[in-house]
């Protein structure tokens, strides 16, 4: 039970100033980036060291108090909502970049380092850490590891898990465990780091991360293509990849979002286009030239109505800024926006888009899309109003059909946002039952009292 004595114990560990208990403060840790999930914690703690995290977890485990690890609360799956109350363990004050090693191409950071702060520090040394969830201005590295986040660059460079070389994780019983190291190759035992990468805070609290870096690509080129038919755009993505070139990013937005962006920030976009695709080639200057040409050729052959190559960095920036405004454009469009995160095989994109159009026609809900076309990860959004119960229920059913459609073409529930609270009711359908049961057993071993982020990923709490 969380009583005065318990709060006093927490204060002993992290200091009084780092324990928040007022209603006003608890309210500020009751939400994340999702539209609908809200739950108040009983207390918020802001540790600054792994030792403090360890003592907090030990105390919580002894008292069977739920602990929800949280970074900046920018996730969009409900992952950091303290749905069972208890403690929110917030890592935002563990924000030191411990080491950037240009000769070994690694960086070691505390979990609360903001992704963009790391990027700025790396850029000074011409280094590059590719995974780029579009919440990079707010999200913490710890959060991106726990969610195994991805973003536009992942077409070519892969997602967070491909960059983790070492982790320090505090287990539910308070043990501070070290995994991996600072080498690119490491064949020592099971890949336990991968257990915690994408664990959504249910298996341990990540307190230190060593990341693999790459040198900053010397050149890049941005292209924009206009399509009359979204499915033709989807086919173009497959054609580009099949032609033997992997662009750094392939993103697209549909007509609705395009218009909204143009309304919000007029920049002369072709608002009549059904879909707009943004692509980037990067690498050495000569390679970029050749790749860009090849991409343009394939786009034209695949039926793009218009292809523009950005003349300079300013024009390129303009296009990418538009893409990053995409989410704001959708979220501002209706009282409640249900936005999903399915990923499908890239050669099935066109099929999947056809299915979405059919669902939209059948259910009467307008579905808009934006997403990372290059890795088959789309964010179809349904506009609704949570205050209208009947409509909201139908909207949720329509979303369920979208999941089914994604699974039917060999896709997955979530490309980069995670399961959290949003998608747990679909987990059973999307996973092999034996794998699911194995996951439960692993959870049972690592967190026998189920104190870590209870109510997440799993439909039921205990095995």
């Amino acid at each position: 039970m969380i009583d005065k004595k318990f709060i006093a114990e927490l204060s002993k560990i992290v200091g009084k100033e780092a324990v928040l208990t007022s209603k006003e403060d608890l309210n500020a840790y009751s939400y994340d980036g999702t539209a609908t999930w809200v739950h108040m914690p009983d207390v918020v703690v802001l540790p600054t060291t792994a030792e403090q995290v360890s003592r907090i977890l030990k105390l919580a485990d002894d008292n069977q108090i739920p602990v929800t690890p949280r970074g900046a609360g920018t996730n969009v799956s409900g992952g950091s909502i303290p749905i069972k109350g208890g403690i929110v363990l917030c890592t935002t004050r563990m924000n030191k970049i411990l080491d950037i090693n240009k000769a070994n191409l690694t960086a070691t950071v505390e979990p609360g380092v903001v992704l963009h702060d790391l990027n700025l520090a790396l850029a000074k040394q011409s280094l590059f850490y590719p995974p780029d969830p579009q919440s990079f201005l707010g999200c913490t590295i710890g959060g991106t590891v726990a969610e195994n986040a991805g973003g536009p660059y992942c077409v070519k460079y892969g997602v967070t898990k491909q960059y983790i070389l070492g982790l320090e994780v505090v287990l539910a019983n308070g043990y501070i465990m070290k995994l991996g190291g600072v080498t690119v190759k490491n064949r020592t035992g099971y890949e336990l780091m991968m257990l915690f990468t994408g664990s959504e805070g249910t298996l341990g609290v990540i307190t230190k991360i060593t990341l693999k870096l790459i040198p900053m690509p010397l050149a890049n080129k941005t292209m924009m293509a206009v399509f009359d038919d979204i499915a033709v755009g989807g086919q173009a993505v497959s054609n580009i990849l099949a032609s033997g070139v992997v662009p750094a990013k392939i993103e697209f937005v549909d007509n609705f979002i395009l218009r909204r962006i143009e309304e919000m920030t007029p920049m002369g976009l072709p608002v009549e286009a059904k879909a707009l695709m943004l692509l980037q080639a990067d690498g050495s200057p000569a390679a970029v030239e050749a790749e860009a040409q090849q991409i343009v050729d394939v786009l034209k052959k695949s039926g793009a109505k218009e292809v523009r190559v950005a003349k300079d960095a300013d024009e390129a920036m303009k296009y990418w800024k538009m893409r990053s405004a995409g989410f704001a454009a959708t979220y501002g469009a209706a009282h409640t926006v249900l936005s999903e995160d399915v990923a499908v095989p890239r050669d099935r994109l066109a099929d999947f888009i056809h299915k979405l159009e059919e669902i939209s026609a059948r259910t009467g809900f307008f579905i808009c899309y934006l997403g990372h076309a290059g890795d088959g990860n789309l964010h179809p959004s349904i506009f609704t109003d949570i205050r209208n119960k009947e409509e909201f229920t139908r909207a949720q059913q329509a979303m369920e059909e979208i999941f089914e459609a994604a699974l039917s073409v060999g896709g997955v529930l979530s490309g980069e946002h995670g399961i959290g609270l949003e998608k747990q009711r679909f987990l059973k359908k999307a996973m092999d039952p034996v794998a699911l049961s194995l996951m439960r057993k692993i959870k049972g071993i690592l967190d026998p009292n189920h104190i870590l982020n209870p109510g997440k990923v799993w439909e039921e709490e205990k095995v």
Binding site: E24, L46, G73, T74, N95
Partner: protein, 429 residues
């Protein structure tokens, strides 16, 4: 009759659009100067917005904690400028401060300072002068100026380097009507809103501005009836009733003049904000809106209205050969969108070297009464500005807001950085 919920949150409801616009993405955490220091959610726009939503939903109430979190914002507008949904949370914060004051009143000593003293210019002047005697006794004299009495009193206890109060106020040394000298054709007639700080502590700056304008054919009227702009009262403390009295006084003082110019970014922005926050009747709406159009920042006036040729900007003897950098006051940059005009002026001056500061538009952490409530936090924010100033290698940092000037003087002295702080107009001969 009991107040309805609608009444209780009257001001917040006016900004419901902004309140609802936040989609909780959390990108504001990267830009908020307060969050960057504290790294807790209640510091940032998203957290404050959700707190106000909580109030409206009946989950939260007017508590000490609520007030403290609401006050902990510099209104720098960096969140809004970078918000993907363009949610103007500072609007909501000011409105929420107003509703809180309406419901709960102001606390001592702010009630005395804001309701009673600031609206009475002559009395305020006397009290400031009285306070200055103590300043001479208790504190080492430093450069610059003092902005508000309450701030001065608070600073006494906290060791801030505060500027000294002038032996004679601006209003005591310049006439109401200041005509161009013999042989210079009068091209325009403007009112000069002096602001508390130029009036009480930097009269020589005011005199210099009047001389510069008259030499360039502008007749400058300094109405004696003008008072404090009201920023600490209605924006800082949320006392809209007193704010309206101050607004009415100022609007009336400048009646019949085409332009009202100000050398203070905060004053300029606040005078313009009367229309947004204080217009409670159609008459006030009309009066404040037309007043808003007349108010111009000094650099904006010189560049956009008077359209002076580059040759009009000559270096004052003391700044010749110096390296100069510019700090964007939040009220000038994000509140009013004035960024190019001051730079254009500085770059036009021969014999000085202009160096752009990294993050020139980052808040200095002063924010009026914010630095009263949270002096330590204010210092932490200022230290980042000091680093940026240092990195330029400039001899002088110029700005166009006395509030920022106080903060820059205090933090440069505290960090022992020998860079001089000046108002942009002081660069000019």
């Amino acid at each position: 009759m009991a107040k309805t919920k609608q009444d209780r949150y009257e001001q917040i409801k006016r900004f419901e659009g902004d309140l609802g616009q936040c989609m909780k993405c959390g990108f504001c955490t990267f830009w908020c100067p307060v969050y960057q220091e504290e790294r807790v959610e209640p510091s940032v726009a998203r957290g404050k917005n959700m707190m106000i939503r909580g109030l409206l939903a009946g989950d939260l109430d007017y508590t000490k904690e609520y007030a403290s979190r609401l006050n902990k914002c510099t209104l720098c507008m960096t969140c809004t400028a970078n918000c993907p949904a363009k949610a103007n949370i500072p609007n909501v914060i000011v409105a929420a401060r107003a509703d809180a004051v309406k419901a709960r009143g102001l606390k001592f000593p702010y009630n005395i300072a804001y309701r009673w003293l600031l609206p009475r210019r002559t009395l305020f002047g006397r009290v400031v002068r009285f306070a200055s005697w103590f300043q001479g006794i208790f504190l080492p004299k430093t450069e610059g100026t003092i902005r508000h009495l309450s701030m001065f009193l608070s600073a006494l206890g906290k060791g801030r380097n505060i500027p000294q109060i002038a032996p004679r106020f601006l209003r005591e040394i310049v006439p109401v009507v200041n005509r161009p000298p013999e042989g210079v054709k009068t091209v325009m007639r403007v009112g000069y809103f002096t602001g508390c700080m130029t009036d009480f502590t930097m009269p020589e700056l005011g005199k210099h501005i009047i001389d510069f304008l008259t030499r360039n054919g502008v007749e400058v009227i300094v109405p004696r009836e003008q008072g404090c702009c009201g920023a600490p009262v209605f924006l800082g403390a949320g006392d809209f009733d007193t704010g309206r009295k101050m607004a009415d006084t100022n609007v009336k003082a400048f009646e019949g003049l085409d332009y009202v110019i100000s050398d203070c970014a905060t004053c300029t922005s606040s005078l313009k904000d009367y229309a947004k926050f204080l217009a409670d009747t159609p008459e006030r709406e009309k009066a404040y809106t037309s007043f808003k159009e007349k108010v111009k920042d000094i650099s904006q006036f010189l560049v956009d209205v008077l359209k002076l040729p580059a040759s009009a900007y000559q270096a004052a003897p003391a700044v010749k050969g110096k390296k100069v950098t510019w700090h964007d006051p939040c009220h000038l940059n994000r509140h009013l969108g004035i960024t190019s005009q001051p730079r254009q002026i500085i770059k036009s001056i021969p014999d000085i070297e202009y160096i752009e500061m990294p993050n020139a538009d980052r808040c200095c952490g002063m924010a009026g009464s914010f630095s009263l409530y949270y002096y330590d936090l204010s210092k932490q924010i200022a230290d980042k500005k000091v680093e940026a100033i240092k990195s330029t290698g400039a001899d002088i940092v110029v700005t166009s807001c006395p509030g920022c000037e106080i903060q820059l003087i205090d933090s440069l002295l505290r960090n022992k950085v020998p860079v001089k702080v000046m108002h942009i107009m002081e660069l000019l001969a």
